[in-house]
Symmetry: C2
C-alpha cells in the first residue's frame, strides 16, 4: 500500500515547486509554501553557508515543509585538453566581447552533495531532501534519512525508478522528456531512452511501490489532473513558476519565455556539459545544441560565465541558459500563490 | 463549442484504433469496431482494388463506423545517386544473405492519396477519412468531404494543428512524441520541435476549436483517463493492439514486443526515409537510427524488402521495422475486443 506523501507532509495541494538553481531563492519557495504547496530550495550553486541562510529565511517566513535539492554527480577528473578545446571554440565570442583570458574563470561550477552539505541538513532538518542525477553514496543517504527527511530522486526510465527504490528512496520523481532544465538520468546516457511523461509515468507507477511524483510539461490544471489520473500522488512544476515575480529569472530569460520562442525548446549540453532543456539561443544554434565540444558536467559553465554577463548587459541571451519545459508557452506572469492555486484546481476538479 | 465526435460517429467508447500499415487488415478493425471503438484500415500499402476489398470485408462484418487512413506525402523526384548510395550501404548485408542485384526492387513503396483512392472513398463512403503527413491538395480534400466523411489529420505541434484547422479538418489527432510508427509532422522536419503528449495535448486543445484526439504512449486505462483529462474527446491507440491475434504483426515483431526490448524505442528513418519510432534492431545499431544514408521517403523501403524477407525466414528481425510506441511494454496478447474494453475502463472511471 502506498503511503500518502501529502498527508505525511501536511500539504493542502499536491503541487511541488521544482528546485531551479540559478532562477530562484527562498522567496519563490515561501510563496508556494504559503499557498499550500511544497516549496523547494536548489542547493547546487550554493555554499553550505549560503544554503543555511536560505533555509533560515524560508523558516522565518513559512511554517510549511521544505524540499532542499542537491545534484549528486561525480565531479569529473580535470580535463585540461577538453577545457582548452571548449575555450578555443568560444574564442571568437570572447573577442567579440573584448574579454581577456584572465577574465575567464575555471575549476568552479556546481558542487555535488557532500559531508558539509549533510551537516547543513542535520542542523536544519528540512522535511524533504531531493537529489538529481541519482543518489549520493549510501553513507550520505543514511545520514539524510537519520534526520527524518523524506528522500526523493528523479527517474527518467523504469530501470532508474527501480534502482532508486532499491536504494531506499521514499518517493520517485518521474521526469518526463518534456521537463525543462537538466535531465536527471543516471544509469544510461543514451537520450533515446528518455520517455514522454504519458508513457513513463504509468509504467513507473506500476513498477515501484513507493509514491510517484510527476514532472515534465505540467503547466496547467488539466495537466495536473492528467498526472494524478496516471497514478502520481503529486506533480512537480518548474517552468510555470519562472515568470512569477518571486522568481529570480533573468530579464532575458523572462523575455524569451514571454515570446513566441517559448513554443520551441531543445535539449542542449552546451551550458553545463549535461543535457538540459531550454529555449534555443545563439550559442545552441552556432555550435549545435548537443555538440560534444562542451566538456563534462559541470565544467562547461565556467567559461561561459563572462560571455553571459557581457551579453546580458547588452540585453542579449546569446550565452544564457533559457531553461524551459515543453509547456513553457503556458507560463503566466502572476504571483506564485496564484499559479499554485490555479494548478491545484486540476487536483480537485 | 466543440461537437462531440463520439456522438456523431455513434461510438460507445472513445477508443480509436490506429491505422498500422503492414501490421493489420480488416480483421483488427472489425474486432475493435465490434467492441464499440473506431476501427481503422491503413491504405498506404494497398492498391485501390485492395483497399476496396478490405472496406467491403469490414462492412460485411461490422455495422460500426470505419476510419480509412492515407499517407499524403509528395512523392520525391527520382534520386538515382541517393538510391545507389543506399544500396551500397546495404551491400554487405546482400552478400551475407547471398542476394543478387536482380532481387532488389526499386521505385515502388508507399503511395500517397490520389484521384483513384478518392474514387474508392466516393464509392465506399467510410465515415472517417484520416491523413498522415498533412493533407492532400484542396480539391482532393473537397472530394472526400463531399462524401460526408469526417476528415482527420495528425498534428505534432501547435502550428500544425492550427494549419490543419485552417484547411478544414473536422478533428485533429495530437500525436505525442511517444507514438510508435511514422511521425506525422509536415510543416517542419526539425525533430526537436516534437513534443511529449502531456505538453502537446493541452496546448493544441487550447489552440483549435475542432475536437482533438490524443495519440502516443496510450496503452492503459490510466493513460486513457489522463488524455481525456487533458481535453481529448477520444484516444487513438496502436501499439497496444499489436499483440492481438487479429493483428498481422509478424512473428519477429511480436517476439520483440513481448521481450524486455520493448522498454526501449527510438526514432529511425532507415526503414522508409521518414522518422518513425520502433524497437532498435541490428540495422538501426549498425547504421545509426537517423542516418542520412537512407534516401527520401518512401524510397528507403524497397531495397530493404529482400533483406527483411531473408532474415525473417531465419527468425531474425535485423532488417524489419519493429514499430512500437514508448508504452510498448504495456501491450497485452489478448483479443482486440478485450483490449478495447480494458482501455475503455479508463474513460468511465
Amino acid at each position: 500500500m502506498k503511503l500518502s506523501l501529502l498527508q505525511h507532509l501536511s500539504l493542502s495541494v499536491p503541487i511541488f515547486q521544482s528546485p531551479m538553481a540559478g532562477s530562484q531563492d527562498h522567496r519563490l519557495a515561501v510563496a508556494v509554501s504559503q499557498a499550500g504547496g511544497l516549496g523547494a530550495l536548489p542547493a547546487a550553486m550554493l555554499t553550505p553557508e549560503g544554503l543555511r541562510a536560505q533555509i533560515l529565511a524560508f523558516r522565518a517566513a513559512s511554517s510549511g515543509p521544505l524540499n532542499v535539492n542537491f545534484f549528486c554527480h561525480l565531479p569529473p577528473a580535470p580535463q585540461p585538453d577538453a577545457e582548452q578545446a571548449w575555450r578555443d571554440a568560444l574564442h571568437p565570442y570572447y573577442e567579440e566581447h573584448a574579454l581577456t583570458p584572465e577574465q575567464i574563470p575555471s575549476g568552479g561550477g556546481r558542487q555535488p552533495f557532500d559531508t558539509s552539505m549533510a551537516q547543513v541538513i542535520e542542523d536544519t532538518r528540512p522535511e524533504v531532501v531531493s537529489f538529481h542525477f541519482g543518489l549520493p553514496t549510501a553513507d550520505l543517504v543514511a545520514r539524510v534519512k537519520a534526520t527524518g527527511a523524506k528522500v526523493l530522486s528523479s527517474a527518467t526510465t523504469v530501470a532508474e525508478a527501480q534502482s532508486l527504490e532499491a536504494q531506499g528512496v521514499d518517493a520517485v520523481i518521474a521526469q518526463g522528456l518534456e521537463a525543462g532544465g537538466h535531465r536527471g538520468h543516471f544509469l544510461d546516457h543514451d537520450l533515446s531512452l528518455q520517455l514522454g511523461l504519458m508513457a513513463l509515468l504509468p509504467q513507473i507507477v506500476q513498477a515501484v511501490s513507493v509514491p510517484v511524483i510527476a514532472a515534465g510539461g505540467i503547466a496547467s490544471p488539466p495537466a495536473v489532473r492528467a498526472a494524478l489520473a496516471l497514478g502520481a500522488q503529486a506533480v512537480q512544476v518548474g517552468t510555470a513558476y519562472l515568470l512569477c515575480p518571486e522568481a529570480n529569472t533573468s530579464a532575458v530569460h523572462r523575455a524569451a519565455l514571454s515570446s513566441p520562442r517559448a513554443a520551441h525548446t531543445n535539449l542542449t549540453r552546451l551550458f553545463s556539459g549535461r543535457p538540459a532543456r531550454g529555449i534555443p539561443n545563439r550559442l545552441m544554434r552556432d555550435l549545435g545544441a548537443l555538440s560534444p565540444v562542451a566538456p563534462a558536467f559541470p565544467l562547461a559553465s565556467d567559461a561561459l560565465a563572462p560571455l553571459r554577463q557581457a551579453a546580458e548587459r547588452l540585453g542579449r541571451d546569446d550565452f544564457s541558459p533559457l531553461w524551459a519545459g515543453q509547456a513553457a508557452a503556458q507560463s503566466r506572469a502572476q504571483p506564485a500563490a496564484t499559479v499554485t492555486q490555479w494548478l491545484a484546481t486540476g487536483a480537485s476538479a
